[in-house]
């Protein structure tokens, strides 16, 4: 099976990256950097890769996919301690990062721009990595959980081809990177546009920063992507009243956009002839599982649409029986070649093959209407999304218990609510808020704290979340 980036040579002198402060990078220049990195790497080893939206990090990613090295994608400016803990857990022979100080036990073998490639030659996993395994991606943004999703070469290729099909992406598309590439949505934007031979405007800035808009004005991107919070910011900035005639496509994923905002943006996009796509997916499905065709946006603004090409959905009840009644709620199940191989918690889990058999129990509750459109109704699993990143509510409770606090974490997307049992320990609410906000790396304003004398529990001591509030 051909891999995702085997054909990049054919794009030759076409521009791969535009950057405001640096020169353009052609596909052949990208491959030159990528080959330089590949030459230092042995295939079927792991590498911890610090991902910024830069030509160096992307070239390293391309090198990994082309030369069959398995990268662990970590965020830009990842703390050294976190980087090293992944390196240790996953026995990575290589580290590619922007750090000044050499990770302990490693030796620098290459320098490219701000990045260095480090090697610890005593480590080798060559016989312990399954042939299908392409990359490892985190499930929840920032808490540093060791659990990673295992994606195969087939996962990447299949999801990339499906997305290209329904978004009609070709070499004339010009996206701007408004999302980080270690985030599955950001990575899918990169994968699809490199595969199609498009040019990409690279920036690490958010839509609130001048450098983002400098790049926007100079290069006039044709597409823009964001999580729900990006669109709240864009609305507040009055983005749709600005001169944005270059934009022809906007995509949204990473959580549910409120119906009001979906309708308001949908209306403006219609007037401006912009195709606005609401999409749904998970890291466990590489990236995308469904999309709402833009012509249904105004009639079904609360739907996440239909399955992507080559994917399919159905509902099951708690006993695993299919739910066939129209509009009945059930557990949402997805099947497609983009369903991941499974999870890993350390390098020992890298030798096993596909454990999911292309079927993903999404953990979401949904209904399906008479035209086959999916409506997400809730979650079975205990997590919420804050600014597009998954936050496991149990992790928060565990974290607080380490700090001598008994708590129940609940709430809805972008609104975390933590109920804390008053156990007589002297804690300032603001301090707890700061503690949690640093742990999750989210702004304190998205966290609400509530001190209760006792948390509601059943006889066996389990917290009764429904009785909170």
């Amino acid at each position: 099976m051909s891999s995702l980036f085997d054909h990049l040579e054919s794009f030759n002198d076409h521009i791969a990256f535009h950057q405001f402060q640096n020169e353009d990078v052609s596909y052949s220049e990208l491959l030159k950097i990528s080959n330089k990195i590949s030459a230092c790497l042995l295939s079927r080893e792991t590498i911890a890769l610090e991902c910024s939206n830069s030509k160096e990090a992307i070239a390293c990613y391309v090198a990994c996919i082309r030369s069959k090295i398995v990268p662990i994608l970590l965020e830009d400016n990842v703390e050294q301690a976190k980087l090293c803990s992944y390196a240790k857990l996953y026995s990575t022979r290589y580290i590619f990062c922007q750090k000044e100080s050499t990770p302990s036990g490693y030796k620098k073998i290459l320098e490219i721009g701000q990045f260095s490639l480090y090697e610890k030659s005593s480590l080798s996993l060559q016989n312990d990595i399954h042939d299908d395994l392409a990359l490892l991606i985190t499930t929840s943004g920032s808490t540093g959980s060791p659990k990673l999703v295992k994606l195969s070469y087939e996962n990447l290729l299949s999801n990339t081809q499906s997305i290209i099909k329904y978004l009609a992406i070709d070499s004339n598309d010009l996206p701007i990177t408004s999302l980080p590439m270690n985030y599955t949505f950001g990575l899918s934007i990169l994968n699809t546009h490199l595969y199609a031979g498009s040019s990409i405007v690279l920036t690490n800035a958010s839509v609130l920063e001048k450098s983002f808009w400098n790049a926007f004005e100079r290069f006039k991107p044709t597409s823009l992507s964001g999580v729900p919070y990006t669109f709240q910011m864009l609305e507040r900035l009055n983005f749709f009243s600005q001169e944005i005639s270059c934009i022809t496509k906007i995509t949204q994923a990473g959580g549910k956009l409120s119906e009001d905002l979906a309708l308001s943006i949908g209306q403006k996009c219609l007037e401006k002839n912009i195709d606005f796509y609401i999409m749904y997916g998970q890291s466990e499905a590489t990236a995308r599982m469904s999309y709402l065709p833009p012509n249904f946006l105004l009639s079904k603004p609360d739907s996440v649409g239909i399955a992507i090409p080559d994917g399919m959905f159905w509902l099951e009840d708690d006993d695993g029986n299919k739910v066939i009644d129209v509009n009945a709620t059930g557990n949402l199940v997805y099947s497609g070649s983009n369903v991941s191989m499974g999870y890993a918690k350390s390098w020992r889990d890298l030798s096993s093959g596909d454990q999911n058999m292309k079927i993903l129990y999404t953990g979401d509750l949904a209904r399906i209407d008479d035209e086959g459109f999916i409506y997400i109704a809730g979650r079975q699993k205990r997590f919420i999304k804050i600014f597009g990143n998954r936050v496991n509510l149990d992790d928060i409770e565990n974290f607080l218990s380490k700090n001598q606090l008994i708590s129940a974490a609940a709430g809805s997307d972008d609104h975390l609510q933590i109920h804390i049992e008053d156990n007589g320990i002297d804690f300032e609410i603001a301090d707890i808020k700061k503690l949690v906000s640093r742990f999750l790396k989210v702004h304190p304003s998205s966290i609400k704290l509530n001190i209760v004398s006792k948390l509601p529990r059943n006889k066996s001591g389990k917290i009764q979340y429904k009785e909170l509030n």
């Binding site: 958010s206 839509v207 609130l208 507040r236 900035l237 640093r438 702004h443």
Partner: protein, 80 residues
């Protein structure tokens, strides 16, 4: 009736949970964890409420520091 500077400072103190002593030349976007994109939007909303103004896109984006903000607010006839 509090002065414009007092109102301005109060919005920063409230939005970023910081003290008056932290309000200086060094207070810029992303210099503290609280002043990220979410904090920025909250602070702008706070200023708009306090001064009863609606800020333009360019000004929201140019608002890169505590000091720069004072300069930008002069466009809305708020002087310090």
């Amino acid at each position: 009736m509090s002065s414009n500077l007092e109102k301005y400072n109060q919005v920063f103190v409230d939005s970023f949970s910081i003290g008056e002593s932290d309000l200086n030349d060094d207070l810029v976007y992303e210099s503290i964890p609280e002043w990220d994109s979410v904090g920025h939007m909250g602070m702008i909303a706070g200023l708009e409420d306090a001064f009863e103004i609606t800020m333009e896109m360019d000004d929201i984006i140019d608002f890169e520091s505590y000091n720069k903000g004072k300069e930008l607010l002069s466009k809305y006839n708020i002087s310090f």
